[in-house]
């Protein structure tokens, strides 16, 4: 770790070594924290299966603790809102990113970029509150039902993942070498053809990463979803029926269930599931990004 020249005196070497240790300790500490969280959640969560069958938990539809623990409604609810959010949010976000990266005049882009970043910083409880006050009554009034359900939660989540999708895919699009675009124009391609046949394929790994990160945000979102989904352990037969998700069930019951009880353990197992899903998504991104090449 020695540096040549100016740093050769003893004192600066000592400083150098000291900060070397600081960084190593920080890195170890961070890893330790993450690792112990995973171990703790897993240890609590896996105790669930001392009392309940693995299949009963994952495939059972009857959630009536402390008697029956069928968590399928939550699993399906989480998948449902995430799917809906990505289906609605991803195309919109990608289109926005293409506009910002390649079509918008510089001045518009300079305005939109900070706006998008600002968007990321809005706390989810604010989204949830707005959704609960405006979206839910709007839908309830028109359908006569609750208003709560996959539809409102999915729509709101789509809005919430927009900034993530936009900013990452915009970066990916702008990272595509200018010469590819130029070559395309030089061959007589229109802007439309250039975007769809050159830019998007070249930026694909980045765009996929953007969508996966959006997905990770959607499946892990808690507060806003808990306010809009209705929080009822039933499998939704329509987009307008109250249902629930893993995250919503955890936040609703974690403070009220005694630590160490089966109910509490089951919530920890749900947390573990979410942790594993997001870990899987991050690993997936690793694979996608590694394939990024421009072939010369």
């Amino acid at each position: 770790m020695s540096l040549p020249g100016r740093l050769s005196n003893k004192k600066e070497y000592a400083l150098d070594r000291f900060f070397g240790y600081v960084f190593v300790v920080s890195a170890v500490l961070v890893s330790l924290v993450i690792f112990s969280i995973i171990v703790f959640v897993a240890k609590q969560g896996l105790q669930t299966f001392g009392d309940i069958g693995f299949l009963e938990f994952h495939l059972g539809t009857d959630w009536d603790p402390p008697y029956r623990f069928g968590a399928l409604p939550f699993i399906l609810g989480s998948l449902g809102v995430t799917f809906l959010a990505v289906v609605l949010g991803a195309p919109l976000g990608l289109a926005g990113a293409i506009f910002m990266a390649k079509i918008a005049p510089p001045r518009v882009r300079e305005l939109m970029r900070p706006a998008t970043d600002l968007f990321v910083g809005i706390p989810s409880v604010v989204y949830g509150w707005v959704g609960l006050t405006i979206l839910v009554p709007f839908v309830a009034e028109r359908t006569g039902g609750f208003g709560f359900g996959l539809l409102v939660a999915g729509v709101l989540l789509a809005v919430m993942i927009l900034p993530t999708v936009i900013s990452i895919s915009e970066d990916a699009l702008r990272a595509v070498p200018r010469r590819l675009e130029m070559a395309s124009y030089a061959l007589g391609a229109t802007r439309w053809q250039t975007i769809f046949r050159v830019l998007i394929p070249a930026a694909l790994p980045g765009l996929v990463t953007a969508v996966i990160l959006g997905m990770a945000r959607a499946i892990g979102e808690t507060m806003a979803v808990a306010m809009l989904i209705g929080n009822v352990p039933q499998i939704a037969k329509s987009l307008l029926e109250p249902t629930s998700t893993l995250t919503a069930e955890i936040i609703l019951n974690m403070g009220q269930t005694p630590f160490g009880s089966t109910w509490n353990n089951a919530l920890f197992y749900m947390a573990l599931t979410l942790l594993l899903v997001s870990m899987f998504l991050i690993i997936l991104i690793r694979f996608v990004v590694q394939r990024r090449t421009y072939d010369g």
Partner: protein, 271 residues
């Protein structure tokens, strides 16, 4: 430099010695929170030498924390499970009664529900307001609390007995959210602590002809009411005992308990 530091430490020590006596800690039910906070404020004004720390977290949090000795007082609106040895050493102090109000969206044109009608609605046998005398053909949207909620447990025990709530409902995390939602969704019905009632733009229903009020609770005609409890590990002593005694004192019971939307213990006699 060192001198300044020593002086500073000295000042800090002097300032904090007053707080060195172990503070009284009370944790638990969010429904009881406003009441206990008010009691703590009043108590600390009268006894500046004692500190009382109050926080929420839910009835079960209160129970488990007091059972394991982390806090002095566990606030709960549900009784500690009698069959669980964890809670064996806890002593119960009923400090007030908390009525639950049945609330509906202001647009609902029904003002009174009989016991059977209410049970029908909560269990999902009655799903349209027309079935309980409304002029409008509107779906009944039940908004209530999660299964781990003390309020839900109390309402279920008093009104439903062995039956259970319908699944076709929306569940909100707190009294405030239930109020907000019931006021926003047409055809909605829910239950909230009486203490929260005045804060929302909702309509309170009569139950079997009686409205939710402390008078009707005391008269024994409005039965949807929970005992609000403080649990201690063993008999309370010292500052903890002084605090609980203050809450049970006539002064606090009559000046504040009722004003906060609860019913004084004394008013209920021994039932």
């Amino acid at each position: 430099m060192r001198k300044i530091l020593i002086v500073l430490i000295g000042v800090v020590l002097l300032l904090t010695t007053g707080c060195w006596d172990k503070p009284v800690t009370a944790v638990g039910s969010t429904a009881m929170l406003p009441l206990v906070k008010m009691a703590a404020d009043q108590f600390m004004t009268a006894h500046p030498e004692i500190t009382v720390n109050v926080s929420g977290g839910g009835s079960f949090t209160g129970l488990s924390q007091v059972a394991s000795g982390y806090v002095d007082i566990g606030n709960s609106d549900v009784p500690a499970p009698a069959d669980d040895p964890v809670y064996a050493g806890l002593v119960e102090h009923v400090v007030a009664f908390a009525p639950f109000a049945i609330v509906v969206h202001p647009g609902v044109d029904v003002g009174d529900l009989s016991h059977d009608q209410l049970v029908g609605i909560l269990t999902g046998e009655i799903t349209n307001w027309r079935e309980v005398g409304s002029a409008f053909d509107r779906q009944i949207n039940l908004i209530h609390r999660p299964p781990s909620s003390g309020s839900r447990k109390v309402v279920r025990e008093i009104l439903l007995g062995e039956k259970d709530f319908t699944l076709n409902a929306a569940v909100m995390n707190s009294n405030g959210e239930v109020l907000q939602t019931v006021s926003a969704i047409p055809g909605a019905i829910g239950y909230v602590d009486y203490a929260y009632l005045r804060k929302g733009a909702v309509k309170a229903l009569k139950y079997d002809g009686y409205e939710c009020s402390p008078e009707n609770v005391i008269a024994g005609v409005y039965p949807i009411v929970a005992r609000v409890r403080m649990y201690t590990r063993g008999e309370p002593r010292g500052d903890v005992k002084a605090f609980i005694d203050y809450i049970l004192s006539a002064e606090f019971q009559y000046d504040f308990v009722e004003e906060m939307g609860f019913v004084p213990v004394a008013g209920m006699g021994t039932n």
